[in-house]
Symmetry: C2
Subunit: 197 residues, 2 copies
């Protein structure tokens, strides 16, 4: 999977700036989340299941966004949704499923969380150029955080269909919830007032 296939995907590239979040902050957040090595293992297995089905998962998520006008608005101009913008984000969103399952929680990973955060807020329409032009300048924080729930809940059937025993399905699902909540929490950083994050 070459990175050049995905427009605007810059994980690990020199253009990604260092995150202002320290590794110690990250560890403290992970402690709050009851994070363990078992979660990392469960996510690796989840990646084997969810990765190959990412287009189906994205169909669910995109169907959900399309059904909620207050969400679709972030991809829309006054005359309607930008299909090109939706498609460019979709390709990165699919990679995000895989990246979430194989995350190393190292500096490179942390830096890219800040990059994603900035793309939601301060630099929302830069990455996708003309495709995003004329859409709202940032995504409101409340929706990013609330979307943790459907992003968590909707992967359950995919995990269940893997044939793994129920205990393993549960472990993978819990690890996925922690991983999504961890990222949403990191994505809050630029939204927060000075030092308050």
């Amino acid at each position: 999977m070459s990175q050049v296939e995905i427009p605007g995907y810059t994980y690990g590239q020199p253009s990604v700036q260092p995150s202002p979040v320290s590794m110690e902050d990250l560890e403290h957040i992970q402690s709050c989340l009851l994070w363990s090595d078992e979660d990392v293992q469960a996510l690796r297995r989840a990646g084997e299941i969810l990765g190959p089905r990412k287009e189906e998962i994205l169909d669910v998520w995109y169907g959900f966004v399309a059904s909620q006008p207050h969400l679709l608005a972030y991809f829309s101009r006054p005359d309607g949704p930008s299909q090109e913008y939706l498609q460019r984000v979709r390709a990165r969103f699919g990679r995000w499923i895989e990246d979430t399952c194989r995350a190393e929680y190292d500096q490179r990973w942390l830096d890219y969380q800040e990059e994603i955060a900035q793309r939601h807020f301060t630099r929302k329409n830069q990455t996708d150029g003309a495709a995003a032009e004329g859409t709202p300048p940032y995504i409101h924080w409340r929706y990013i955080n609330a979307l943790v729930y459907p992003i968590y809940a909707t992967v359950r059937p995919f995990l269940e269909q893997s044939g793994e025993p129920p205990e393993m399905v549960e472990k993978m699902h819990q690890a996925w919830l922690k991983a999504v909540l961890l990222q949403a929490t990191l994505w809050a950083r630029p939204y927060a007032k000075n030092e308050a994050w």
Copy 2:
């Protein structure tokens, strides 16, 4: 359960200021969370189970906070934790379990979410006066959001021990997760830069 029993608990009282969040915003957030009437029903039942066991649940949560120095710090002065502050917050935290399960999602409820948010951030040490004096001036947002996970995960055994069938336990647990994530999302409001929430 008289409100005067709980120090600083002001739900529904005239001192609580109107929330700047609109009912429409609240509904949009609930839509993101896949909120339904079934969740409300499941929470009502959860309240019958969790309410009477709130002291045991608080023992779990307080044990967790005490085990993490970066969390206990918010209740501590340079010479150590303020036991009086911890106890005053504990009484309100217990009531919060009950309030979460019986929430009406009306204006009064919304206003009190903003009050709680301000007590985490701009007015952290006002409610508890001398008991809180000398402790940090606000709680960092990252920990409030991350604590959604343990607040969610740790009630599971209590729900299971109710004797309800597994499907109902699952429904109650999912509704509880949505309810906690909803509140954390509302509590982010004062932390966010102008309009970005």
